[in-house]
Symmetry: D2
């Protein structure tokens, strides 16, 4: 595995930890985007955190893993066997969708790609916990009283990773 | 406690279980709405499920309890002492915001009143799990690709309870 | 439902909340014990908290419910339909065995009847959280360095409920 | 980071994942044991999974990390900052002791060193889930009806790692 510590001799904990979130049933164009984001994260030496399953999660994992990166998959099921084949480290929660908040909490920034209601729950948790959210063609929302949604919207994978890395605390 | 079984001699499990969700820091007008919703739920003999803390949760609990209803508070903290004083039954999760999904899963329908990002996470989970969501001046959202958000929007407390009771499975 | 507030006009929150824990596949004699414990809890006006499933959980629920008590079932599954028929209020966690700690945290004292490894995890959590554990023919354990296990062992259902009620904080 | 895939070119997922569990307040001799276990796990190219905090968790993490291994810390708190300094990858649950089951579920075998009640809860979950438990001076227990506790007891760190690696499914 080729993940290098951010500083020579320093702890891996100093590598950025970026979550990529998105749905299992995403269309092809979003999967391509997710794979590019994964590749770019590996190039920038960041650790990819995701829900460990298929769709956007698998595409991002594949991009990251094939570029030599490290992929943490925080699984909803009760078995590590359920992880997509590109997950380096399966974390097995057995909590179903209850694991969404752990994906978010474990990251320093979140990249949301498209997304289902599960993805929306993760975006909401990230904003609640003040973790930066970078959006690629994802949810738009507002309260009736009209606040902005605080998602940083970008146009491509490279910009997403760039913004995620600079936005983390 | 005056909660009556839905059918004479039948199990309490047949009483409706309706979640009321909303933020701690809600403005006065939303608190009044929440209290009315709680009162109406008790009148209709439904069990109120909520996050057990202050703001919208406490106002709804007060309305329900004062009208003789039963309030289940699913707490984020590690102590039953943290429940608002109108909670009949504190469920102590110690899971922080991770408990949001339990509030939603335990209900047959959800009434969202205003709301913060925590509330948005609960709405998202409910829609993900196909539990009906009734909205009183709450979040509006859409995907970039433009789907509707499937929230049933109503204008007052009575309509909210009416729709929640008829929408549950 | 005949649960009376502990003090006239006072909150139901003042009723004792006692967890009964034990395995699904318990032998007949333990099921009889569990049912008696449930009955006795209802007579003493305590709320029964349990895991909501079969075996010891169902026997205790039946005893409590048939004597007019209130039963909270904290379920491991994703559906309220999975609760045993005596549960008054299903709390649906979707967390599998991860819900064990919530059963324990929500109680003021725990009565352990026989038990599998799942029960042992609950006893351990209770002792960790300094919640009193009353044991009816349950696990015996010690560290190699030889400490006692701090379970209060009793001989029958009545004594178990008596000790649980007096031990709660 | 020097963790090598188990087979050249193969996935890191093929590296063994072994949990080390034990208490924060362990005596010095147990900390030495834990550090040796961590070192031995790194030498055998296994990934160490632990609760990420101090005491036995930190000693095992230090041994593993200093020998070039990878340490996953599944934290009870809400911040990655709370991890001990040898954790490579913090997983932030915010679930308190509720995270214990995730530590266990994510491992193929568990090495228990000494231990508090929290450790006992983890041993119980492992046995419940049929994950092998190797014990170094840890809990001894039995049901009143007298079953054995199914822990494989060993005398030193090397034997513990050897048995954990051979016992995993």
């Amino acid at each position: 595995m080729s993940v290098r510590p951010a500083t020579s001799g320093g702890p891996l904990a100093e590598n950025a930890r970026i979550a990529v979130i998105g749905e299992r049933g995403a269309p092809h164009d979003l999967l391509l985007l997710a794979e590019e984001v994964g590749t770019e994260l590996a190039r920038r030496n960041a650790i990819l955190i995701c829900g460990g399953m298929g769709g956007v999660m698998e595409a991002a994992s594949r991009g990251c893993r094939n570029a030599g990166g490290l992929v943490v998959g925080i699984l909803p099921t009760e078995s590590a066997q359920d992880a997509n084949p590109y997950v380096s480290i399966p974390v097995v929660t057995g909590m179903g969708e209850g694991r969404n908040i752990i994906v978010v909490r474990s990251a320093q920034a979140v990249i949301a790609i498209g997304g289902s209601y599960g993805t929306l729950s993760e975006i909401a948790f990230a904003l609640r916990l003040e973790i930066p959210v970078i959006g690629l063609r994802t949810w738009v929302f507002s309260r009736e009283r009209g606040e902005s949604d605080r998602i940083v919207r970008v146009a491509d994978a490279k910009a997403a990773v760039e913004r995620a890395l600079s936005a983390r605390g």
